[in-house]
Symmetry: C2
Subunit: 190 residues, 2 copies
């Protein structure tokens, strides 16, 4: 890839790796430059500030997640749509556990410079679930609670997915996916 793009990529990857472990507040621009192997000048040439860097990182990550969810749902309805969304969300969490940890830590923060961007992105990603739920359950849409149900389903997949990757990494992903689907399938509340 062209060198400028390679530098940007290296910076974003380093920033994510550091923040997934230490949190964003615990990550400094010096740490990012060092891990990315770029000079401070080059770091600031690409991202004018730490806020700017993490806004770009979340924009890229959550934006890609929302795109994957939209693609997964296309042409599907009812249970098939929901199952496809759950599967793709779990795939994305597995492929990028660092981003998933960061999302879990950031989505309810209300003090960040990039708050508006993150709210919009979060809404985009949840909206794909909410639309599938509203379509499958018109009564839910009428009551205006498809957004809450979307959060509930999203939270179930996010927490079980991170539980798997952080605490039970040797488990097969099919078991994880089956456990999530079973917890949402009503068997527990039968």
């Amino acid at each position: 890839m062209p060198r400028a793009i390679g530098t940007k990529r290296a910076i974003l990857d380093a920033a994510l790796e550091l923040a997934a472990t230490r949190g964003i507040t615990g990550t400094t621009m010096d740490d990012v430059a060092e891990l990315a192997g770029v000079a401070k000048g080059s770091l600031y040439y690409n991202f004018s500030s730490k806020d700017n860097l993490f806004e770009a990182l979340l924009q890229e990550g959550v934006g890609a997640l929302a795109d994957s969810l939209r693609e997964a749902r296309a042409g599907l309805h009812g249970r098939a749509a929901l199952e496809a969304l759950i599967t793709v969300l779990l795939d994305r969490i597995e492929a990028n556990a660092g981003l998933a940890k960061l999302m879990a830590a950031e989505i309810f923060r209300t003090d960040r410079a990039w708050q508006k961007t993150l709210f919009a992105l979060r809404h985009d990603a949840l909206a794909v679930f909410a639309e599938a739920i509203a379509e499958a359950k018109p009564a839910t849409a009428a009551a205006g609670t498809s957004g809450l149900m979307a959060s509930s389903v999203f939270g179930a997949v996010l927490m079980a997915g991170l539980e798997w990757l952080v605490f039970e990494p040797n488990r097969h992903r099919d078991e994880v996916s089956a456990a999530i689907l079973e917890s949402l399938s009503g068997g527990l509340l039968a």
Copy 2:
């Protein structure tokens, strides 16, 4: 209350209020002393370090949550036990949104000084769900996936509960509770 206990309480409350907004890394001992209205000497007399303070805070908060969950489940079985656990967890999130935000941000961090304490507490709280699930679904227990299902249910309640408190605070709690139960009742996957 005796003055020493009053001071400790004021410190813990101030620390939680600050960290719920800024995160733990973004909260300094100076900020805590100022908001609690205590001298730095008194702060350090009560908690020898910031790590020690936040370990105590999480220990108290997550410990109380695990106790409430155990009490709620006592004597109940099957759907009644699960519903009681979900209701009590939502109650605790409503009563202490700051702690819930902090838990969401901290439970997958692996770099904290108080990591072992938090892992043990997290396990305690989830175990109450896992036991109720294993009892209701012996096949799940045999497959060893009651922990994953417990995470899934816990994540659903935590994320929908915070969605409510942070983004849809005017909604009635019965609507929130009904949306969570519906999302776990299989209607979406019918």
